[in-house]
Symmetry: C2
Subunit: 420 residues, 2 copies
């Protein structure tokens, strides 16, 4: 799957309009905190109809964590989400997790590690994994009848080599910010705030390159990351947000998140000729144009054939298989980060005695959608089997989560529509 952020990056375009709708508060007159939070230029409103960090233009740093709930009491789970909401709302305006009590004999409620750094465009959103609803697990919280129909466990895809711990989780937390210490600090404070009610299961940090002025950024493959994302308010309503009557009522204005950590065999990729790389992706590397075209913004003509009758964009090219035209017009809102986990023996060579380490790096793929059963799962099932890019990639971590709607303002909390 091609991991792209065009649309997020253009100064014009529908997403900006869509974001403005969320940011202006016009759609949600209940939100009393928004004006105050927006006063700082680098603050993204935490409260709103939708959770932040989904249509928000991507920040430079990402800190994702999945948690296991360690209590069996529904009221403890609700309390955890109330505390998390309060902490996140404070951090997103550049405050400490809760007000500091500078007394020598007190334990301070915040490590202080992000004091003075400002909001740094921090967003924090929360999600619920299938296990929270008793799917593949005991129904500890009596939530089975609230289980969203779109929240299925992901199947095992061709080629998956998921780490035993680096997958799933009852709860997901995703903090993104322009400062790595601010993003990490949020996850750290939320882990601490969980106390006895949840413990961290796995976590992954990511980064984006500084956004080049005017240019589409390149991914670790060296290609411009510039395929289509839903951007207009109409597209977001059609493909991303859960609408009235489309799933459980508590999920209205929410969305579903799929994350995949995709290790790229960079040395093998780098050893390919330019022509091979371009055939695998289906675009020209230098310009970003579809194969056979000149400009990055030229449309993707999947039926175009060369003089000998062959398809210009090969049958197994990544852009072909991932395009909405080949996927029942489904679209994912992708908002991915690069990751770099140092060096280790690649999964494919892990059984060999003389196996050498290689960089463990690639994409932390994040995709938002109205229904993974119609979007990520069928799209990636096809890609996992046929995408030419699959020769160079291994999925090593995975999670799926239902992201409920945002908290509409102070006094409300994320998860209230499910547990309130």
């Amino acid at each position: 799957m091609r991991l792209t952020r065009r649309g997020f990056l253009g100064a014009a375009g529908g997403l900006v309009a869509g974001t403005a709708l969320v940011g202006s508060g016009k759609r949600n007159p209940l939100n009393g905190a928004r004006t105050a939070s927006s006063a700082r230029e680098d603050a993204i409103p935490f409260y709103g109809r939708h959770q932040a960090g989904i249509t928000t233009p991507p920040q430079r740093c990402s800190s994702f964590a999945a948690f296991d709930v360690t209590t069996d009491r529904r009221q403890d789970l609700a309390g955890l989400l109330q505390r998390w909401t309060s902490v996140a709302a404070n951090l997103c305006v550049g405050r400490t997790a809760s007000p500091m009590r500078p007394s020598p004999d007190a334990v301070e409620p915040d490590s202080g590690a992000a004091i003075g750094l400002g909001p740094a465009r921090l967003t924090v959103n929360f999600g619920f994994g299938p296990s929270l609803f008793g799917v593949g697990a005991a129904d500890r919280f009596g939530l089975r009848d609230k289980w969203p129909m779109a929240l299925v466990r992901l199947p095992r895809f061709d080629g998956d080599q998921l780490s035993a711990v680096g997958t799933g989780g009852d709860l997901t937390v995703h903090a993104c910010a322009d400062d790595p210490q601010v993003a990490f600090h949020a996850v750290r404070q939320l882990a601490r705030t969980a106390g006895e009610d949840a413990s961290i299961r796995w976590a992954q940090t990511g980064f984006n390159e500084a956004q080049a002025a005017g240019g589409t950024p390149r991914d670790l493959l060296g290609f411009k990351d510039g395929t289509v994302n839903p951007t207009t308010a109409a597209e977001l309503d059609e493909f991303v947000w859960v609408g009235d009557g489309q799933d459980q009522e508590w999920m209205r204005d929410g969305t579903f998140l799929v994350v995949r950590r995709i290790r790229v065999q960079l040395d093998l990729w780098d050893a390919q000729t330019l022509a091979t790389q371009e055939r695998v992706i289906g675009r020209h590397k230098a310009s970003g144009a579809p194969l056979g075209r000149r400009s990055e913004l030229d449309s993707l003509d999947l039926d175009r054939r060369g003089p000998a009758g062959h398809l210009i964009i090969p049958p197994d090219a990544h852009v072909r298989l991932a395009s909405p035209a080949e996927n029942w017009a489904q679209m994912l809102l992708r908002r991915s980060y690069a990751y770099d986990n140092g060096a280790s023996v690649p999964p494919a060579a892990s059984g060999e005695a003389d196996a050498q380490a290689a960089l463990d790096a690639g994409l932390f793929f994040c995709a938002y959608q109205q229904n993974p059963r119609l979007a990520f799962i069928p799209i990636y099932t096809k890609l996992a089997g046929r995408d030419a890019l699959r020769q160079f990639t291994t999925h090593t971590a995975s999670a799926i989560a239902a992201l409920p709607p945002g908290a509409s303002g102070p006094g409300h909390w994320v998860g209230e529509t499910l547990l309130g």
Copy 2:
């Protein structure tokens, strides 16, 4: 050991003067490339008397890697260092590793992933581990008589829990830049450039918070990172650079690097009262002042006693044990980064059946010095046994390396003084 960067950050102060000496080229009239490289405001000169990235004001992102040399031929090793020098010099001015040859049937010499990002203040420096000189290994390259006397293998310190692979290495590479993709790209291209001559052994990414205007930044402990670093040219000559006749002649104008990945048990630290944290560090958390003083810049008076006769800064406080006054006036030039490796079971709990994961984060400590036998080793031997902060930290990776002088200009290479 307190990991600090004051002095780097102040707009005034001796380090700026010291850097200016390096940057202006006044001390090294041979360096013809400097003026050209400095033309871009965000380029740090690669060529110079000393390697860059040592006294350079810290960038936001760090990518460190250690390599094992996989050839036994001295000329291959020299060739590797020549190629690495060339690639690093190109990347540091914002070019690709070598010029691109846009031909469909050619393998491109650079992944293209950093095209358009500019130099982003990239620095790259190279170091030689003890094993390269046949210490604890075969003398494959006939370098035993060039072995620097200061380049000893680090002893096992109290409390070390080093990962088997995450330690040592024949060669070290450290890339720092203000853009994470630029820093990572450098290590990736250098790993590729190594070809059959070296393979990556371990790697670690790090980050700094965005530097707050006018304020001393805080570390993950929540304290201002503000203890003393050598900053003036005289201090750098005394404590950091290898002078004439002080070690092997090929190391003149070089230095020695010690890196340690220090995992911090953040949950345990966060559970301490403010008074306990301040006693452990020896400074006030909010102000950064030494205990009992008011201002961050007040001097550290280690002999000051309270009315009952007790030392105001406790005997096992980190700032006391790490201070030059307690260490034969030795100083380390510290240039550390925070790291975040996701979540895993802490080393201390790794044998327990019900052990829970926790954030694997802390400091990627980097210290430069003229002689580790007089600086890091005795200082940390004492700290490992007595520092109150040791209750909260575990060292999980380690390396020591001799960093030779810089390449003086195009046509010269890092390592030429040893292998040329």
